[in-house]
Symmetry: C2
Subunit: 187 residues, 2 copies
Amino acid sequence: MMPPQPTRPYHHGDLRPALLRAAVEAIGHAGPAATSLREVARRAGVSHAAAAYHFGDKAGLLTAVAVEGYRLLTEELRGARDAGFLEMGVAYVRFAVRHRAHFEVMYRPELYRPDDPQVRQARAVTAVLLYGTASPDAGRLAAGAAAWSLVHGLATLWLNGNLPEGLGADPEEITRLIAPYLSIPEQ
Amino acid sequence: MMPPQPTRPYHHGDLRPALLRAAVEAIGHAGPAATSLREVARRAGVSHAAAAYHFGDKAGLLTAVAVEGYRLLTEELRGARDAGFLEMGVAYVRFAVRHRAHFEVMYRPELYRPDDPQVRQARAVTAVLLYGTASPDAGRLAAGAAAWSLVHGLATLWLNGNLPEGLGADPEEITRLIAPYLSIPEQ
DNA sequence: CAGATTATCTTGCCACTGGTTAGATCACGT
DNA sequence: ACGTGATCTAACCAGTGGCAAGATAATCTG
C-alpha cells in the first residue's frame, strides 16, 4: 500500500549548497534575470520558502552566487599568475566562459547586494591579483584598468555574441589574438 | 458637477513613442530587468495591454529600445569619426554613460530579440563604423575587436562601479587615460 | 532518557507581473 | 450616415517574490 518511495526526509541536511548548485544550473539555462527563486527551489526539491529561509530573498541567493564567483575567479587567476600577464587575461576570459552563470551575476550588481561584506572582501582579493599589488601607483592603476577593461569587454562581447565570426570560435584563442594590441610597460 | 478634468482622450494619439520614452525613463531608474511593462504603461497613463498592443510583449518593447540605442550610438560615433580613433572610443563611452538605459538593454540580448531584422541592421551599421570598413581584413578585424573590447569593457566596468576610485570620476577622462595603452597600427 | 529549545522546512496567503481575450471607444474613408 | 479597422480598457489567468503561521526534526539540558 504505502508507496515504496524513499520518502525524502523533511530536513534536507545539506540544502544551502544544494540550492547554490541549483541556482547556478538554472541561471546557466535562462540567465540570471529570468531565473526564479521558485524554479531554483523546485530543482532542489524543496519549497520556495526554504530557499528564502537560507538566503533571505532572491537577492541574497544571487549574492551568494556572486561571492562564489569571485572566489572561483581568484583561483583561476592565481593559477595563471606565474605564467605571465597574457595568461592571466586568458584565464579571465576562460573563467567567464566556463562559469558563465557566476560571471553574469557578478557584473549585474542590481540583481544582488554588491555592498555585502563578503562580496566586498572577495572582490578586493580579486582586485589585488588584477593590479598585481595591493597599493598600485597611478601608472599600474591605469595599466591594470586597461588590461582588465580589454579582457572584460572581450568576455562580455563574446558571451553576447557581439564579436564577428571572422575571429574564430574559441574565446581563449581570440584573447591571444587580441591581447597583444595592448602594450603594458614592463613593471 | 462634471469635474473639469480634461478627460484624457480614449485614444492617446502618440502612444508608441510615449511608451518608448517612458520605458527609457523607467529603465534609467531601476535597470532593465527590474522594469515592468505595467510600470512603463502607468508612466504613460495607459493600461499595460495598450503597451502589449504596440509592442507585442515586454521583449518587443525592449527590442524597440535596443534599436533606438544602436541608432543613437551610430550617430554618436559618426560625430566623432573625423576627430580620430581615440575620440571614437571616447564617444562610445560617452554614449554608454549618457544613454545608460539604452546601453544596458543593448548588451542584454536575453531581454529582447537580438535577431529582429531592425536590430540586425542597426547593429550592422554600427559595426561598419567600429571597424572602419564593411569588409575588414583579418588585421583590421583583430584591431577593431581589441579597441571595441577595451572601450566596451571600460564602459561596463564603470557603469557597475567596478573601477578603482583612483582613476577619477569622469569616464571620458578615464578613457583618454586608458586608451593610449592600446597600440593600433596606423591603417 | 524526557522535556524544552532551536533549526529547518511546508502551507497558505498577499500583491504584483506578463500575457491573452472580449469588448469599448474612436478615427476615417465612402 | 455608416461601417470598418485601429486603438485602448477591463477582466482574467498562471506564475512570481515575500511573509507569517505552523509542522517536523535535531540538539541541548537536566
